[in-house]
């Protein structure tokens, strides 16, 4: 089963290596990982998408918590939350497909961020499923290159997490 976890860590060098090493060393999966500093610059927030059964997920949570640099682990598995991912996709756009590419981008509220006579680069954000969907629709047009940020996630509702809470 797929799980999304947020990990708040000390914003110090080597922390990413500790987290990545923990996953590889213990044979846990990482589907995606994104990381950047939070409002408090001494803390970084990682969003990790992983998979495994309940037992593995429990171990992942505990092992992440065990790292000295981990301040908080939030498992979104049983929590109302939203996920958003950014995707930049460079699509072949010749005379026959230019219009169709634009139409697809429009349906997904994508933006054209770079144009050449032979290509469009489209920026689209959304839940991972939405990104998958636009990729599938653009694939027949000819995708030249593609980059996904991996999802970031936040819980729904008024409650927020800050250091010291």
């Amino acid at each position: 089963m797929r799980h999304t976890i947020s990990v708040l860590v000390e914003n110090e060098f080597g922390v990413l290596a500790r987290v990545a090493g923990l996953f590889s060393g213990r044979g846990f999966n990482i589907e995606s990982l994104s990381v950047a500093p939070t409002l408090d610059p001494s803390i970084s927030r990682m969003t990790i998408v992983t998979s495994g059964d309940d037992r593995i997920l429990e171990q992942i949570n505990k092992q992440l918590n065990k790292l000295i640099d981990t301040i908080k682990v939030i498992d979104f598995t049983d929590e109302e939350h939203m996920e958003r991912e950014l995707c930049l996709v460079k699509v072949t756009a010749d005379d026959g497909t230019r219009a169709e590419v634009l139409r697809i981008a429009d349906i997904f509220r994508g933006k054209v961020v770079d144009v050449t006579p032979k290509s469009y680069t489209i920026e689209v954000t959304g839940a991972p499923d939405k990104i998958n969907a636009i990729i599938e629709l653009l694939r027949p047009m000819g995708i030249k290159e593609l980059v996904r940020s991996g999802p970031v996630a936040l819980g729904r509702g008024p409650k927020g997490w800050r250091a010291g809470d």
Binding site: G25, L67, I68
Partner: protein, 565 residues
């Protein structure tokens, strides 16, 4: 007053109560070694950095204090790895200081540069690269705090040469606050009450004790619990000395080379009370058939240990001594129920007594050839109760665990988790440095002994009178045993064909060497060794193809043992 980084380091060590360190100098720690000459901190120069770390480990296991080792950058640092991994697997509090090339050179493939922080990340509890001398005192404080609290473990501090030379005002922080690190010491009372209820309801309880009992010095509470609830006690290799083997409730060790009756008791129990143990594969055998009828209570300070390998019915996270104290108090409030236990558990003890009678720990004695088990028994008989025994890894280690009756806690130092050959001699060195007056015995085999035999020089130089027992079968015996049992006696690369004259080896280093080749010489050699002032090697030419039994083959169930008779 401003101090250099190297002076600050030594000041910090003193503030942490460190009076003994083990190490090996080199280019990037030369400043530390220079200042060490003016410091009251004592230093023992081992002959290899791995040995320095094992010595710090042995010192820590014997005393309960944090062991400290120092090594230079590059090869010095990489030589510490096996020692650090050994300490990590067995949760031993330790701080390892490594030199590093100057910060401007880091990443440039400088002479004797190695990314020791990257290398040791998965085998340390935590590690630090000090990049500014202003952070040094706080980092050392944090390192000791992390090493000794929670589930203890090794912490490495990598100290670049320019940071050792740089100066700053020295202030040692009173305390440190780590927002991501807050170990749970206090066991949850509601869980403890539930545990008491489960204990009172059980008909076939077994207490299973691991290294956590040693790390928390919980032997007194453990004994009280066992006697209160009249439950039999089995220990892991790491929990070995926490419960006296001669106690009527002792089942000895469980697992791969555990006693028949311990493994049968666990397999048939209806309640397994796991205390500071982590259900290692050498303990459980086949997980699917491990304690199949038992509810499991698991007390551990490390939440990751709980439900990692086995299902757990009642987890209690906390310091073992805290939990046991609370549990005893809770049981103390139910005296009527507790009083009924002795009668209620009678059939269980009778069942166990039958297993004990059927398959006691035994071996076939010989009048003509020295049996290793006989040597261990004689050693026990002729040594003091507070003697500290260390081992290497292999057959001799298991014989020591099976046939040496440990009486006092912190008297059995062995590499349980990592299984490091070459651990015994340097850890004995460390233990002897901590307790110069006590008997310290390294029980060894001819194979493992040669992995760190250079430390004979350290023993002689520092007058550390460690008594070394070499059970010599000219084999890498444990691997040979597996080859005999599971590989059709194809002894691939396990015969140590070159016979070493260990007596001469001892003499070459200025130590005493003794040898026994016949059973009747064994006692005499041991007596002579214990009467000798300095370090002694006792070489025993033992039965070459003696096996460690009982044995649960790897991956088999605990009740599928290969038995001695």
């Amino acid at each position: 007053m401003k101090l250099t980084g190297s002076k600050i380091l030594l000041e910090c060590l003193q503030r942490e109560g460190v009076d003994q360190v083990f190490g090996y100098p080199g280019g990037t720690v030369i400043n530390i070694y220079d200042d060490l000459m003016d410091s009251p901190v004592k230093h023992i120069l081992t002959r290899h950095e791995q040995a320095a770390v094992h010595a710090a480990d042995g010192y820590a296991r014997a005393t309960g204090k944090v062991g400290v080792a120092i090594a230079t950058s590059g090869p010095g640092a990489t030589n510490t790895i096996t020692g650090i991994a050994t300490a990590y697997m067995d949760s031993i509090p330790m701080v390892v200081i490594t030199g590093q090339v100057p910060t401007p050179l880091i990443g440039n493939d400088a002479f004797q540069e190695a990314d020791i922080i990257g290398i040791t990340r998965p085998i340390t509890k935590h590690n630090f690269l000090v990049r500014d001398v202003k952070d040094l005192a706080t980092i050392i404080k944090k390192a000791f705090y992390i090493a000794r609290t929670g589930r203890p473990g090794p912490v490495l501090v990598d100290l670049p040469k320019d940071v050792q030379v740089a100066t700053t005002k020295f202030e040692y922080p009173e305390s440190v606050e780590l927002r991501g690190y807050k170990p749970t010491y206090s066991g949850n009372l509601r869980m403890v009450e539930k545990a008491a209820a489960m204990i009172l309801a059980a008909k076939k309880p077994v207490i299973y004790v691991g290294g956590g009992a040693s790390l928390t010095d919980a032997h007194a509470e453990l004994k009280q619990l066992a006697e209160t609830i009249q439950a039999p006690v089995t220990t892991t290799l790491m929990g070995m000395a926490c419960f006296p083997k001669r106690h009527p409730l002792s089942l000895g060790m469980l697992g791969m080379h555990g006693t028949y009756y311990a493994n049968m008791a666990v397999t048939n129990s209806d309640l397994l009370i796991a205390l500071g143990a982590r259900f290692d594969d050498r303990v459980t055998g086949k997980i699917a058939t491990f304690a199949p009828h038992a509810k499991i209570i698991h007390v551990d300070i490390d939440p990751t240990s709980i439900k990692k390998n086995v299902r757990v019915d009642l987890p209690i996270v906390g310091d073992l001594r805290d939990v046991l104290t609370k549990l005893l108090k809770e049981l103390g409030s139910q005296t009527d129920e507790v009083a009924k236990l002795a009668e209620k558990l009678k059939p269980w003890h009778e069942e166990i007594a039958v297993w004990r009678r059927e398959q006691p720990m035994s071996y076939t004695p010989s009048k003509t050839i020295i049996k290793p088990q006989f040597v261990i028994e004689k050693l026990r008989e002729l040594s003091n109760d507070d003697a500290i025994v260390t081992t290497e890894v292999g057959q001799h280690q298991m014989w020591a665990a099976q046939f040496f009756d440990f009486v006092q806690p912190r008297t059995f130092l062995s590499s349980g988790g990592l299984g490091t050959m070459g651990y015994g001699l340097p850890s004995a060195l460390g233990a002897q440095a901590a307790f110069p007056k006590r008997q310290v015995i390294d029980i060894s085999g001819d194979g493992a002994f040669q992995m760190n035999s250079q430390e004979l020089a350290t023993l002689v130089q520092y007058r550390l009178p460690v008594k070394i027992v070499i059970l010599n079968n000219n084999f890498l015996g444990m691997v040979r045993q597996w080859q005999q049992l599971f590989f059709n006696k194809r002894y691939s690369q396990t015969c140590m064909e070159l016979p070493i004259d260990f007596v001469k080896l001892a003499e070459a280093y200025g130590a005493t060497g003794l040898r026994a080749t016949k059973p009747e010489e064994v006692e005499d050699v041991i007596r002579k060794a214990f009467a000798t002032k300095g370090p002694v090697i006792m070489e025993f030419k033992i039965a070459r193809e003696e096996n460690v039994l009982p044995m649960v083959p790897a991956g088999a169930s605990l009740n599928e043992m290969v038995l001695a008779s």
